[in-house]
Each structure stands twice: as C-alpha cells, then as structure tokens.
C-alpha cells in the first residue's frame, strides 16, 4: 500500500481530536497537570514535545526497521527505544544550549522533563504497532509514523494550552479547600475529555 492522502488526513484528525493523547489515551498526564498553570510555559512545553516526539519517532522507526528487524531482536524494542529517546533528548538539550541559547531559555528547561514523558515512548511504540504490519510499503510506513508523531504532539499541545487557559481563570474561582490544585484540574480535564468525545465517529 502506497502513501494515501485520505489515510494521512484520518491520522491527523484522529491524533489531534478523536484519539487525543491526553484526553482519550491518558499519555503524558504528568506534564499536563504539572506544566498547565500558565499559558506561556504550556506553549513552550508543547513546542518542545512536538519536536522531541517527531525526532524520536524518526530515530526509533529507523532503529526498528534497519537494526532490530534484520537481526530478529524485536524483543529489545522497549530497552532500545527508551535509551535512544533519552540520548536524543540529552543531545538536543546540549545542542540548543551551545548553539541557540535564546531558544534554550524558553524550551530547554522542559527538555529533561520530556525523557520520562510517556507520550514520547508511547507514540514510538504505537507507530510500530500501527504501521509495521504486512502491506505497508517502507515509504508509507515511515511517513505515516512521522505524521502520527507530529500530530500527536499537536494534539498534546492543544490540550495543554486549553487546560492552562482554563486554569489561569480557575485561580480566581471559589473552590472548596480540598479540591484546590490537582483535584480540580482533573475535574476540568474530565469535562474537556467529555467535549472531545464529541469528535468520535468523525470519519472520512
């Protein structure tokens, strides 16, 4: 099966809205609760996540296709992926610190947090599960994986941004003492997730 633009559109809609990583798959909840107090950091975090997810998906796809599969060591997937992702994040951090100090100021502090973000490893594993079946050509499998990773990051950023905008206003609301902070954030997330469920059944 070659690259199919309908399929690409489906992947995009699915990753951003229908199967939003945070609100329907529960991947990356820790930064979602931790970094969603203000809009600006939320956007920077989102940008860093999009970049790392796309980059690490490219690397893990190549690793799986050209090293793990030829040597029949697919069971090393988890170990090798997490190591590669951790190394990649570390490398990006050092690279931006050295060459783009201004960018590092805005994004860099979020980079170490991303290594243990389950969304990054999650999308790498999902790519392998979804697009490594018989019938996908190498080009299709690779491009779907990259697109899936990029738009999963976009969906993550969208949810994070909406959440931070709501939480900025929540600061002024009168909330029972025991609901302040994390619990109310979960209730808000639950309502958002309910709204995003409206996208289910949205097909091409």
């Amino acid at each position: 099966m070659d690259v199919n633009f309908n399929k690409i559109l489906t992947i995009i809609i699915s990753m951003v809205f229908v199967n939003n990583f945070i609100l329907s798959k529960f991947l990356g909840l820790c930064p979602f609760i931790g970094v969603s107090r203000r809009t600006k950091p939320a956007l920077s975090m989102g940008a860093a996540v999009i970049f790392v997810m796309t980059g690490s998906s490219i690397i893990t796809w190549l690793l799986y296709r050209y090293i793990l599969v030829p040597f029949h060591v697919e069971y090393l997937r988890t170990v090798s992926f997490i190591l590669v992702i951790a190394t990649f994040v570390q490398f990006v951090e050092m690279f931006t610190l050295k060459n783009f100090p201004a960018l590092y100021e805005t994004l860099g502090i979020y980079l170490p947090l991303i290594t243990t973000n389950c969304a990054v490893l999650g999308v790498a594993v999902l790519n392998i599960n979804d697009f490594f079946m018989e019938g996908y050509s190498v080009l299709a499998s690779f491009s779907y994986s990259v697109i899936q990773a990029f738009f999963a990051g976009v969906g993550f950023t969208l949810a994070l941004f909406l959440m931070s905008a709501i939480r900025e206003r929540l600061d002024l609301a009168e909330i029972p003492e025991c609901f302040k902070g994390v619990p109310i954030a979960f209730i808000v997330a639950s309502l958002m997730s309910l709204a995003f469920m409206g996208f289910t059944g949205f097909r091409f």
Partner: protein, 208 residues
C-alpha cells in the same frame, strides 16, 4: 530516626501513597483501570518491576557513576519490563492485549524511576526491597480502588459478577472522562482527610 523495615513498607500505603499522595504514575492508573482484572494484572507487573529494579539498583549503586545514573536506572528498569512483556506474551495473551501499550510504558512510569532516584540509590538492599514492595502495593491499592469504582458504576459488574442488578450502569465511568473524574474526586477526598489531620502538605502534580 531510622525507620523499621515495616515502616518502609507501610509508608507507600498511607502517607506517601504514590497515586493519591504523590500524584505519580497517573497515566497507567487511569488507562488500565477500566476493569478490576486489568488493574490486578497491571498491579502485579508494577510490583514485580518496582521491587526487582529497587533490589538491583541498590545493590549496584556504588558501581554507577553519578553523571549517568539515570540512563543506568532506565536500562535496569527496561530489562525487567521486557521480562514482564515476554511472560505476558507467553502465558497471558488476553491480558497483554487489553493492557496494550501500557506494558512497555511501565518503563517511563514515574513511580519506578522516582523510587530508584529518591530511595534505592542511597539505601541498603533490604530497605529498598521493602520500599519497592510497599510503593508497589500502594500503587495497586489505588489502582484497584479506581477500577472498582469505575467497573461497578460503569458496567454494574465486578470481575464479571453483576452487583448492581436493578440499576442502569453509567457508561461515562468506563470511558476516558469518567477516569479523570473519579481520580479527581478521590484525590480531593484524600486531601480532605489530610487537612483534617492537620497535614498541610501542598500537592505538586507531575513527575518532577
């Protein structure tokens, strides 16, 4: 004051319960709590990985250079996760399908890396083992509470046995929003008791 081994074990259940107290390991806690049987499977996997990785990390803590300790921890954890994956693949294929990608994602579960970093790399093997067991049991405890609430309210059954025969189950609780709602309310309840006892521990969400 040195804690006894039993206290190392029991702190995971009460004061620093990973899910309700420290707000760690949320993704698997929400994603696999749709049914009690999934929750039990996930709990067993997490207890195994947490205890084993704590034992190994605390026994090799002197050999690991400080600068690269996190990658070393991750490799140890990933090894045990791979063992769990292979065992599930061989003996529990159904459980493996329903847990899905959350089995490989145990690697990035913040509880495990968090205990390695905060406890196992500076305590004895024995203590680390009990700490791992306690934290694992604490995690399972919260996971099972969430899954019981969700399964009973969402499907009217526990482990396939109907318990709410006369009531119409609310599908909401099995779906994603129900999970977030349940966890929010449970953390609020746990906060309520905390404040009542006069503990003003400020909760900080997230892994770090």
């Amino acid at each position: 004051m040195k804690r006894t081994l039993f206290q190392e074990f029991s702190k995971g259940l009460s004061v620093s319960n990973p899910v309700f107290g420290l707000v760690l390991g949320l993704c698997p806690a929400l994603a696999v709590s749709t049914s009690v049987s999934n929750a039990i499977g996930m709990s067993a996997a997490v207890i195994f990985v947490l205890t084993c990785s704590n034992i190994i990390i605390s026994s090799i803590k002197r050999l690991i250079p400080k600068e690269i300790r996190l990658p070393c921890f991750i490799v140890v954890i990933a090894t045990f996760v791979t063992i769990v994956e292979l065992v599930l693949h061989a003996y529990f294929p159904n459980l493996r399908t329903s847990l899905g990608i959350f089995v490989p994602l145990i690697v990035v579960n913040c509880i495990i890396l968090g205990r390695a970093e905060a406890f196992a790399c500076r305590n004895t093997v024995m203590r680390s083992m009990f700490d791992g067991l306690g934290m694992g049991v604490g995690f399972s405890f919260s996971l099972i509470i969430i899954s019981v609430i969700r399964e009973v309210l969402g499907t009217g059954e526990i482990l396939g046995i109907p318990v709410l025969a006369k009531a119409e189950p609310a599908l909401f609780f099995v779906l994603a929003p129900g999970a977030l709602f349940t966890l929010g309310v449970l953390i609020a309840i746990s906060n309520h008791f905390r404040y009542k006892r006069g503990q003003t521990v400020k909760l900080k969400g997230g892994c770090h």
